[in-house]
Amino acid sequence: MQIYLPIAEVSVNAFLLLGLGGLVGILSGMFGVGGGFLMTPLLFFIGIPPAVAVATEANQIVASSFSGVLAHFKRRTVDFRMGGVLLVGGLIGAALGVQLFNALKEIGQVDLLVTLSYVVFLGIIGGLMFIESLRALMRSKKPGAVPKRRKHNWVHNLPFKMKFRTSGLYISVIPPIMVGVLVGILAAIMGVGGGFIMVPAMIYILGMPTKVVVGTSLFQIIFVTAFTTLLHATTNQTVDMALAVLLLIGGVIGAQIGTRIGLKLKAEQLRILLAVLVLAVCGKLALDLLLQPSELYSLGTGGGH
């Protein structure tokens, strides 16, 4: 069944969108990530204009994060105070990101920016995750070796300290705000929630306990992506509601299935799988930049000035 998307102005198969939503939903449920980093490139591949894909994906992440955070509210694993501080940075970052996105759209470099961001960030995160989980696998084979955790780093020597009771931390607000800004910019440019960057940053830079990390990150992502959606909707009119709804339906169902699959696998295996997946997406996008494209020319709307 073909469906004509009112904002993207392309006709696509509705079942394909439901299927993509479901597939990414399963993966996001299995790994506890938003899945934006997979969905946005997939939308490019099926011919959705990048500007529409990025804006609409932000809208879809609001739904999946909201669905996910409800469970964490119940278990009281959301650090609202930390979430609030991260949010302040996130909103600043999102506003900057949308400005940057629009400026580069004018000069025709937005595709490059989006693809480059994907290659760089997916490459770094995927690589780190892969090494880390390989090490963890080897450690689990050698009993007795307990991972050491650093108690103090540069984060503890900055001013403006604040108490975060749920996380059991007393640290400066500067690092969380900076993490928030970075993730906000990425959310606006890449059409992702940024969980895949925020979660490691919270654990390794801020030193937050693992049990509150996912809930807090989801809590913050809802607001940043909601804000990004509004900014894209009001400045570019690129949020496609029909596209978002189809992806949502597939996504929420897939996420529930994925969560059940995830429970049956071991944490290390899951992380290695996720790392491989991230690196695969990264590799595909990198090839697009490195190999000569079959069509050197591309069309955009003119008369913008």
Binding site: M1, Q2, I3, Y4, P6, I7, E9, V10, S11, N59, Q60, V62, A63, S64, S65, F66, S67, G68, L70, A71, G108, Q109, D111, L112, A226, T229, L230, H232, A233, T234, Q237, V239, M241, A242, A244, V245, L248, I249, V252, I253, A255, Q256, D288, L289, L290, L291, Q292, P293, E295, L296, Y297, S298, L299, G300, T301, G302, G303, G304
Partner: protein
């Protein structure tokens, strides 16, 4: 000035050739882009009306064009810089139709002279208006060619040689496939009668292509009240997220 002097002469010549006139119709005057729009085919037909018997000599040919609204297009070219392919050069084409199909009884080159093609803007190359490329770009025609090539691949530009059936030098018909990725606007269908390389009769009719129903409503809301549209999108997302989690908790977990 010389052109102005020639004008009455031109008018006279068209009047003289007015022996043949087009009477034409479309299978539909309106193409509605609904939510499940996946392309459409319009049937175009008509007849040549004559007061006198058809003139001797050159055979009659018919050209039918269907054209979408004109708009500027930015054409960008990638080049290898520091090892990766990035957009470097760009040329803005001043006006290009969003859709253009030209169907004729025989190949255009055989039935129409270049001057007539230019004057009546018949072939795709002549419909596209490109005035100035930046001085740094010396091969601006490559950009126009790329524009035509890309849109031809998407079925947006079509050249249908031998696409018009003409019977008894009087009745003609053709059908034009509108692709699924059509944009809305005021389209027009043009009928040209050709004899001996020049146009002897012309008739234009309109074709309205527009989104209807939910498509129309969403598009208007997004452009006229973007804030309301944004909030509505978020509202749907929140409800869907909450609904899914509540549904699965109730029916699958317990």
């Amino acid at each position: 000035m010389r052109f102005l002097l020639l004008l009455p002469l031109l008018l006279l010549s068209t009047l003289a050739a007015k022996g043949e006139e087009v009477v034409a119709g479309l299978s539909q005057n309106r193409v509605a882009i609904t939510a499940n729009f996946d392309g459409s085919e319009i049937l175009i037909f008509g007849a040549v009306k004559r007061i006198a018997p058809p003139p001797e000599g050159d055979p009659l040919d018919v050209i039918i064009t269907v054209s979408g609204p004109m708009s500027p297009v930015m054409v960008r070219r990638k080049d290898k810089r520091v090892g990766i392919w990035v957009n470097t050069d760009a040329v803005e084409v001043d006006a290009a139709p969003s859709f253009y199909a030209v169907a004729s009884t025989r190949p255009l080159d055989d039935i129409l002279t270049n001057t007539e093609d230019l004057r009546h803007k018949v072939s795709i190359e002549n419909v596209i208006r490109s005035v100035g490329a930046p001085a740094t770009i010396t091969d601006s025609e490559n950009f126009t060619e790329a524009l035509i090539r890309i849109r031809e691949d998407k079925g947006l530009y079509q050249t249908l040689e031998n696409g018009v059936e003409l019977s008894e030098d009087t009745l003609f018909r053709t059908s034009i496939a509108l692709p699924a990725n059509l944009t809305e606007g005021d389209y027009n269908a043009r009928f040209l009668l050709v004899r001996g390389g020049s146009v002897v009769g012309e008739y234009v009719t309109e074709l309205d292509v527009s989104k209807v129903g939910l498509e129309r409503w969403l598009f208007n809301l997004a452009h006229e009240m973007p804030l309301v549209y944004g909030i509505l999108s978020l509202f749907i997302a929140i409800v869907a997220g909450w609904g899914a989690s509540a549904f699965f908790r109730r029916y699958l977990n317990s």
